[in-house]
């Protein structure tokens, strides 16, 4: 019973980091119709910047803020200087469908190489803002630590903030409108291009938080966020790629499921488990768990 509970809690904490990454992917997908694989790269670069600040000042939260700012700037920059150029060269021919996806992949490689050139490949770690020793209840110590709790709380606060932005502000309304129907939004006086860039910035900032939190409980290297990207993508697919709420639910389910596999079956099956979840969701419910019954498309 105790093992069940602690697995559940750890899974919740892991899943909440996945949730941030999948929200970042969903935000970009809704506005640009591109799965932004460079998100892992952007998050990595912002995390390295946050890491530098956090180690120099020894204040984790300052590092986190800097990572958010760097991530937002980077996200906006990628959209403004990169995606706009890409779409201006609107392509036709056999590569038309795959060009944007491949471009984000190239961007991921580019950021990875730049990070490698500056910081090298060795593993870095950030001093965690809270203890990583598990809570002690009575006599027993469980693996669930104050850091895990802090991660859950931080992610929860960010989700609330995002919900307020999207549901209660004009900016949120125009973000939703230009994702839902760009042409109509434009007719209604929304500057969709600029709104899109803001969406990329928000996604970038959220990705920065995901990177920092992942690094606090793990380590940082030019490759350390690849798995986060993959699990974030799987979570987004569970949620149907369109819905932010869906992707959060998907991420929590995935995080808990994978932690159960980790604790009850073994490390070797964690990735296979995630992959099987992805394939099963794609085959059984390709529109995601939040999808309502929809007319069959061609």
């Amino acid at each position: 019973m105790q093992k069940l509970l602690e697995t559940f809690l750890i899974g919740l904490s892991t899943g909440s980091i996945y949730a941030l990454m999948s929200i970042a992917l969903v935000l970009v997908w809704r506005s640009t119709r591109v799965v932004n694989f460079a998100q892992a790269g952007q998050a990595m670069l912002s995390t390295y910047i946050g890491f530098e600040i956090a180690t120099r000042t020894e204040i984790f939260w300052l590092g986190l803020l800097c990572a958010i700012a760097a991530g937002a700037l980077l996200g906006a920059g990628v959209d403004y200087f990169f995606m706009r150029v890409l779409f201006k060269h609107a392509v036709s021919g056999p590569a038309a469908v795959v060009a944007p996806v491949i471009a984000t992949l190239g961007l991921l490689g580019l950021v990875r190489s730049i990070v490698g050139l500056i910081w090298g490949g060795e593993f870095k770690s950030i001093k965690a803002p809270a203890s990583t020793d598990g809570f002690t209840i009575g006599e027993t110590t469980i693996p669930f630590s104050p850091l895990n709790l802090l991660i859950i709380v931080t992610v929860f606060i960010i989700l609330i903030a995002l919900a307020i932005i999207f549901q209660r502000t004009n900016l949120g309304l125009s973000l939703r409108a230009s994702a839902y129907a760009p042409e109509i939004a434009q007719l209604a006086g929304i500057r969709t291009a600029r709104t899109r860039t803001i969406g990329w910035a928000i996604a970038g900032g959220v990705g920065g938080v995901a990177g920092m939190l992942n690094t606090a409980s793990n380590f940082l290297s030019p490759y350390s966020l690849d798995l986060l990207l993959v699990f974030g993508f799987i979570a987004a697919v569970i949620g149907g790629l369109e819905s932010m709420v869906g992707s959060v639910v998907g991420a929590l389910i995935l995080g808990i499921a994978l932690t159960f596999i980790l604790n009850y079956v073994g490390t070797s099956l964690v990735f296979i488990g995630g992959f099987v979840v992805l394939i099963v969701v794609l085959l059984v419910k390709p529109d995601g768990i939040m999808a309502k019954g929809r007319a069959r498309r061609a």
Binding site: A103, G109, L110, L227, V230, S268
Partner: protein
């Protein structure tokens, strides 16, 4: 068809002659070029023709490499059989994956194959019979004695790799020019119209995935041969990146282009090495400069000539006409 066969045999003969006249390093690089040419042709078939994007061809190569090594080490089979098994097992794997992939479009397929490319090396790390991090040996043995004492190991690799590359390119080019190639292009251009003309789009996509995986698996076995090893570190995400880059540089839908793409992929580490030494030879520079060059090339080519360098020439030609 007969003309083409003659052309390929002539090409092979010329390559063998060249192989006799250059030094060891170039011979080895020739084997690498052959390996990349096979791998790139699998992407041309899949992405350029059937219009499915796969970012995980490195993973397919891993399947082929491991299948070949396991066959050779555990069954004690002849070398050629290991290559056959590589093709067979990865085709099987591709058919299974293709059944899922055929129902996926753009982003889903890209993400799924990327997940595979990230995850498959991890999986290989976890299982003992796959040799863990150090991997498995894959030794095709010394060249046969009747080729003479001068005949080096690298030249033997080069012969095998070139033979397999020419064979697979010959078969691929015939498939692409057949009914199947035309059907794939029809599906890529407009899958609804293709289905209305009686094409079973899903089945054809699975077929494309299967053949493409089989070719990638062969490339994986050839790669394993050139480094005498199958290890997770050989089939990284970086390899999948490089393959996508090579395919885009080659022009995604041009089969002869793969030789050009393969040449560039082999040249990049060389160039990077020269540049890194000139700029101080620091360790980070050595490790990350090749990746930097690959990514910059990929980004530039995908923005400016997404359909390959041949496209601009062709469109200019059409305008004149």
């Amino acid at each position: 068809m007969r003309k083409k066969l003659a052309l390929f045999i002539l090409l092979g003969w010329i390559l063998l002659l060249i192989g006799d006249r250059v030094d060891e390093l170039r011979v080895y690089q020739g084997a690498q070029i052959a390996m990349y040419a096979i791998a790139l042709s699998s992407i041309v078939l899949l992405t350029g023709y059937s219009g499915q994007v796969s970012l995980g061809n490195g993973a397919m190569m891993a399947v082929g490499g491991y299948a070949a090594a396991l066959t050779l080490n555990n069954l004690g089979s002849p070398v050629w059989f290991a290559f056959v098994m590589a093709v067979f097992v990865s085709a099987l794997f591709g058919a299974f994956l293709g059944a899922a992939a055929a129902r996926l479009s753009g982003p889903y397929l890209a993400g799924t194959t990327l997940a595979l490319a990230v995850g498959l090396p991890e999986i290989a790390n976890q299982f003992d019979f796959l040799g863990g991090v150090p991997g498995l040996l894959f030794d095709v043995g010394f060249p046969p004695e009747r080729l003479g004492e001068e005949f080096t190991q690298y030249k033997w690799f080069f012969w095998i790799a070139t033979f397999l590359a020419l064979l697979s390119l010959f078969i691929t080019s015939n498939i692409l020019q057949s009914r199947y190639g035309r059907t794939w292009r029809a599906i890529r251009s407009n899958s609804l119209a293709a289905e209305l003309s009686g094409v079973h789009a899903g089945r054809m996509k699975i077929l494309a995935f299967t053949i493409s995986s089989a070719i990638a698996g062969l490339a994986g076995a050839v790669l394993a041969m050139t480094i005498s090893l199958v290890a997770p570190g050989a089939y990284t995400l970086a390899l999948s990146f490089a393959l996508v880059t090579g395919a885009v540089l080659a022009g995604v839908s041009s089969l002869p282009g793969v030789v050009f793409g393969a040449l560039i992929l082999v040249a990049i580490p060389e160039v990077a090495d020269v540049l890194a030494t000139r700029w101080g030879g620091d360790e980070n520079l050595n490790n990350y400069l090749p990746g930097l060059i690959v990514s910059v090339l990929l980004i530039l080519s995908v923005i400016f000539t997404p359909n390959g360098p041949g496209e601009k020439l062709k469109s200019r030609h059409h305008k004149k006409a």
